[in-house]
């Protein structure tokens, strides 16, 4: 066989596409950085494989995690994906800030092409592979427990969604080593991303990784909405649900309706690139303005997909750490729903500058400002929740408070941008970059970190080290202000986003401050890692087996930490808001149930990993035009689904006697636990049994 025929088996892939080969052939700084990043990935993988083999972890990994369909494990795996991707994207952010801070009348260390890839992967990862998996994981873990359910409505579908998202993330990671990523930004506007101007594999990587995760998210939305509508415990009416469940519901609805425009837009872009269609091309009747329209038809609701669950987390955290019921529950619910609906009416504000008439711009501008009303209401509801409470400044609470302060600044700049004329002056500038980081870092990331600090003891059975958490908090907060406030100023000074080199000396100081901020943000991330390691090492002292370390208010705190795989030995009956607080006050908490029943839990399944691995192959093969593999992996995916539909033995029954034994043993343990007052919350005397105030 000649080498050519071998390579035709590999489509358009050649040895020169491997990043190390590129580094070797063209040893410049930019390529070294690219090669180093690839090496970190490859070496990291080798170390993980080595450790797994050394500690004989493969079996546990496969049987307890990868094939699991338990919503709690799926949720944790989502968050692991989010953390890994966060690590990469945050480093990319620091690198870009470094480049910009030295590149004033100087080329800096990165080539324009490399810089383009960096902002494209940074944006795509942060939105699709960090924020989305993080919120999905959080909802997965918490929501079913809060509504008193044993699992989501479709556990296997849940695992498949995870694997599709992970497959998308894997494709982005593969692009680090094999070939290049898109330089079209996370929005990938054509015609720049069309085949004429961006030949090669970059945009294809973007298209297929995004498509996979967008399908995964649609399915997730369907799953969550069904769970909340049909799987609530008796007595858990919609208006008794914790706010996190409400925001989860609204997010799911947005996922169901908003992902389709993205799927279609990427499909059309793919047809343009692969088959010569004319959806967004310059000529033959293509219309790139429709891409902007479709992308933001998805993109704006997407912002709320991300931020609403974080709003839910803040509601829970602020209420719990103020030791008080939420103020204006109905008001918050109505505000959440209004935001969800209004988010479908504002997408045009992302392209006020495209040239449409004043009436169109004005109507979308006003709709955008309208969202400010329910959002403002929420901020004040949270403030009023603290009023007449007893506030404890834990890490989760600190993140929530800093969110309130920072978010209103973002809200202010949001209202500024909602005005078409003013938007003309700052659109595409660093002002815009500062604005959306101002919304997404405090709004989404702080929320997710707060949720992580808050629910970690529930998921793993021990508390995180507050000291490191607070260190991390300070880094994130100061880092945020230092990194992004200068960008507001720069935007007003006419500095545009996605610029690899500057020609104005006035910018230099601001860019340097911003770089320092980026370093602080990175240390914030490092401190989170340190916190995790320290806490794991001290886990025996930090255990909270009784499961309620913060005097929690909703049902997830009523079971053990970590919870049994079926969540509730007996499905609770709910008779009001703050269900668990009510139980504790009425002395019903930790009471032995009168009867136990057999519990059926879904069996593990290899279908999800098979689909996930086939999806990676499918995406990779499409990127490199390896048609035989496209066909094969497509058949594998659908084959797995069809084969699965013939399996009848999908459930495992846990006998009532086993449930009784486990549950009674835990109850016994809880009854023996000493209770902890709120003042003692952060000491090792806290074993998860909260003192109940009369």
């Amino acid at each position: 066989m000649t080498s050519e025929s071998i390579f035709s088996l590999l489509g358009t892939l050649t040895p020169q596409d491997i990043s190390f080969v590129q580094t070797f052939e063209n040893p410049v700084m930019s390529e070294f950085i690219d090669g180093a990043a690839g090496s970190v990935l490859v070496v990291g993988m080798i170390i993980v494989v080595g450790l797994l083999t050394y500690y004989r972890g493969w079996k546990t990994l496969w049987f307890d995690w990868l094939t699991s369909v338990d919503h709690k494990k799926v949720g944790i795996m989502y968050i692991v994906v989010a953390f890994v991707m966060l690590a990469r994207a945050i480093i990319e952010g620091v690198l870009m800030r470094y480049q910009q801070s030295i590149a004033v009348n100087d080329p800096g260390i990165l080539t324009a092409d490399h810089f383009g890839q960096l902002f494209s992967t940074h944006g795509s990862i942060m939105i699709f592979f960090m924020a989305m998996p993080f919120i999905t994981g959080m909802i997965n873990y918490i929501m079913p427990q809060q509504i008193g359910a044993r699992d989501v409505s479709f556990p296997l579908l849940n695992a498949i969604s995870l694997w599709l998202t992970a497959a998308g993330a894997a494709l982005v990671m593969i692009s680090l080593v094999v070939g290049k990523f898109s330089t079209g930004g996370w929005t990938a506007y054509p015609p720049y991303t069309g085949i004429e101007f961006s030949p090669g594999e970059g945009v294809d990587y973007w298209i297929w990784s995004i498509s996979l995760t967008s399908i995964g998210s649609t399915l997730t939305g369907v799953n969550f909405a069904t769970t909340i509508y049909k799987n609530r415990a008796p007595g858990m009416t919609l208006f008794r649900m914790p706010l996190f469940c409400w925001t989860s519901l609204c997010t799911s609805v947005l996922m169901i309706f908003a992902m389709a425009p993205l799927t279609i837009a990427t499909l059309m872009l793919a047809l343009d690139r692969y088959a010569g269609f004319h959806f967004f091309t310059n000529d033959l009747g293509g219309n790139m303005m429709n891409y902007a329209n479709l992308f933001w038809l998805f993109g704006h609701p997407e912002v709320y997909i991300l931020i609403l669950p974080a709003f839910g987390v803040f509601s829970e955290v602020i209420s719990t750490f103020s030791g008080k019921t939420i103020y204006g529950y109905k008001s918050l619910v109505i505000a959440t729903m209004s935001i969800a609906v209004l988010s479908f009416t504002v997408w045009l504000h992302h392209f006020f500058t495209m040239g449409q008439g004043a009436n169109v711009n004005a109507i979308f501008g006003i709709a955008t400002m309208l969202i400010g009303v329910p959002t403002g209401v929420k901020v004040y509801d949270w403030l009023l929740t603290m009023v007449r409470g007893r506030i404890r400044l834990t890490t989760a609470m600190l993140f929530s408070i800093m969110f309130l302060v920072t978010f209103v600044i973002g809200g202010l700049t949001g209202v500024i941008l909602a005005n078409p004329p003013v938007d003309f002056a700052v659109h595409n500038s660093l002002f815009l970059v500062a604005h959306f980081h101002n919304m997404v870092i405090p709004g989404v990331l702080f929320g997710m970190i707060a949720g992580y600090q808050f629910w970690f003891p529930k998921a793993f059975g021990f508390r995180l080290a507050e000291r490191w958490g607070k260190a991390s908090f300070w880094c994130w907060s100061f880092g945020f202000y230092l990194a992004f406030m200068p960008l507001y100023a720069l935007g007003l000074m006419g500095a545009m986003r996605r610029t690899v080199e500057w020609f104005r000396p006035e910018y230099l100081g601001w860019l340097q401050v911003s770089f320092v901020g980026a370093l602080l943000l990175f240390s914030g991330f490092l401190f989170l890692c340190v916190q995790l390691v320290v806490s794991i090492r001290q886990r025996d002292r930090r255990r909270v087996p009784a499961g309620d370390p913060w005097d929690g208010r909703s049902l997830e705190w009523s079971n053990s930490a970590p919870p049994p795989e079926y969540n509730f030995a007996v499905i609770p009956h709910v008779s009001g808001k703050d269900a668990f607080t009510q139980m504790k006050q009425e002395g019903q908490a930790y009471a032995s149930p009168s009867a136990y029943e057999d519990i059926a839990v879904p069996k593990n399944s290899i279908v999800a990993p098979v689909i996930g691995i086939a999806a990676i192959a499918f995406g990779f093969a499409l990127v490199w035009h390896i048609w035989w593999l496209v066909a094969l992996s497509f058949l594998a995916m659908w084959g797995a689904v069809i084969a699965r539909s013939f399996v009848t033995d999908t459930e495992r029954v846990i006998p009532a006697s086993k449930v009784r034994a486990d549950h009674e043993a835990w109850l016994q343990q809880v009854r023996e636990c000493t209770t902890t007052s709120r003042e003692q919350e952060d000491t090792n005397s806290n074993v998860g049994r909260a003192e109940v105030l009369a």
Binding site: Y229, V253, F257, P261, N287, M289, N290, N293, L294, L297, V341, F344, T345, W347, L348, M354, G355, Q356, G357, V360
Partner: protein, 104 residues
């Protein structure tokens, strides 16, 4: 089939028959209007649009059994979807035609 089932069967059967007849009639009417150029142009477009909406309602009512008696969740979902579809389709068409007009 028990007596009760006979009754429900008759009703379910009737539902599909009524739906089928209405759908066929509405389709035939729409094609007839266009193929034989009945009505002036603009009125014809309005007429076939109304026929399409009528037929969609027929399908929902008689084939999908969505009606005011449906489970509240299902009906809410259909109505909410209609709202979103209206916003998306209406908005897209409005924006793209406005842009087209201003750029030629």
């Amino acid at each position: 089939m028990t007596h009760k089932h006979v009754e429900t069967y008759a009703r379910d059967f009737r539902s599909y028959c009524i739906g089928g007849v209405l759908a066929l009639a509405l389709t035939a009417l729409a094609f007839w209007l266009v193929m034989f150029e009945i009505l002036p142009d603009f009125e014809r477009l309005i007429a076939i649009s109304i026929l399409a909406v009528a037929q969609i309602i027929v399908h929902f009512r008689f084939f999908l059994h969505i009606s005011w008696y449906s489970h509240r969740d299902d009906l809410q979902l259909v109505l909410f979807t209609s709202l979103i579809l209206f916003l998306m389709v209406g908005g897209t068409i409005w924006i793209l035609f406005n842009l087209h007009e201003r750029m030629m």
